[in-house]
């Protein structure tokens, strides 16, 4: 009689089988919708894909960048968010701040208003150029240049950056994001939608 009472109504094998079946059914019910919803995150974070293909876009010319303040450019990139490459493309518009390092025009440009640049000149100019995203690194608000103070300010929470995009004051955790750019032989400045970091909402 005591043996009878001590015997479990469910055997170990039955318990394990039920557990395995429960896990399987739970996985079948939850994994597909979860992966479906997280599909963009998986593509971006695990597969390294981006909504914007790595195409180069011309901003302007090195000859038109002033010495004491950044020049603001508007640039359009193709965007494949919700579009398949075969069905078409959307577009995303970015604002780009371009300035010379510390606000000094390189001497090699002199009074040249145009012309071809040698490889060494291209290299030198590339080193001296700031090509910055206008999104504050704190919460993404658009920053603006304050000519009176010679600084870049974020109007949302008072983040302040130097003309080189370095963080000077306020809540931003780092300096402004820099675009991947290149200067070409004709003096053209080209950018693509890649940054030294992950600014996301640009």
């Amino acid at each position: 009689m005591p043996e009878e009472l001590q015997r479990d109504p469910v055997s170990r094998a039955q318990f394990l089988l039920m557990g395995a079946m429960g896990t399987f059914i739970g996985a079948v019910l939850t994994i597909p919708p979860a992966v479906y919803l997280l599909s963009p995150s998986i593509k971006v974070l695990l597969q390294g894909e981006s909504d914007v293909p790595g195409v180069w876009r011309r901003l302007g010319s090195v000859f038109e960048i002033p010495g004491d303040e950044p020049k603001l450019y508007r640039v359009e990139f193709p965007q494949r968010q919700t579009y398949d490459a075969r069905t078409g493309e959307g577009r995303i518009v970015n604002a780009v701040l371009v300035s010379w390092r510390d606000g000094n025009v390189p001497e090699i440009l002199g009074d040249r208003g145009a012309g071809e640049l040698s490889d060494s000149e291209v290299e030198e100019l590339s080193r001296r150029l700031n090509v910055l995203s206008n999104h504050c690194t704190h919460l993404g608000c658009p920053v603006r240049w304050l000519p009176d103070r010679g600084e870049i300010l974020c109007p949302c929470h008072g983040g302040i950056y130097s003309i080189n995009g370095e963080h000077l004051a306020g809540p931003p955790p780092r300096g402004l994001y820099r675009y991947d750019f290149e200067v070409r032989g004709d003096g053209g400045i080209y950018v693509r939608h890649e940054f030294d970091g992950t600014p996301y909402v640009v």
Binding site: L37, L38, P40, S41, K43, V44, L45, S50, D51, V52, Q79, Q81, T82, Y83, G90, I92, H138, L139, G140, C141, P142, C156, H193, T198, Y200, V201, V202
Partner: protein, 258 residues
Amino acid sequence: MISRLRARTSEAGRSALEWLEDRTSIVSMTEKFLYEPVPTRGKWLYTLGSATLFLITLQFISGILLLFYYVPAADHAWDSIYYIMSEVYFGQLIRGIHFWSANVLVVVIGLHAFRTFFSGAYKAPRELNWVVGVLLLFIVTFLAFTGYGLRWDSEGFWAYEVGMKIGSYSPLIGDWVITFLLGGDTIGPGTLSRLFAIHVWLLPAILAPLIGVHLFLLRKHGEFGAEFEYARRLARLRENRRMREYAREEEETERGER
């Protein structure tokens, strides 16, 4: 003549209600649903919950009406709202009701939470209802936030961007949160679709049953500090006092006998 007519009408109304009550119990259910004892002190503050429910209902109705014209696509969202405001008859009224009742809702639900907290209504056995209420407060806040972005104008756009960036600071899962909300690594049409799905389907689908649970738990435990509770406490107090008096009297009698 008039009094006879009034009596007949009232009799007819009563028999119609009785007929309905027999078949559906609607009268007793309505009475049960509408009447809830509340403490006499600060009684108006106990209407904030009902006001919240009324505003949420208004949000559902006006939101459904707006869906007849709103287009959740990045290149049409703002235009469709402009169309509602300028071309649709009573469009300004319907959108105005949705907009202003949302604003008032956030204030009223906050006041309701304050009242609950300061009247101690979160204490046992009502802890779970407090937890459900806090969840409802969060959901309403997220609804207000996502609704702000659906306008897809400069103000809503930047507000949503700031909100998403705040999400990106979540420890460990920040990148997953923001890419989930963006629908990729940039803001675009996918972002608006997600915003729409969350605002119109996901959050209301969670909100509605939770309101049911909130009301059920309220009815189960009653309003904290309600009349009957005071009466019960008062009875207990009187009983204790009576017992102390008996004890004292007995003590005095014993002392007298000695």
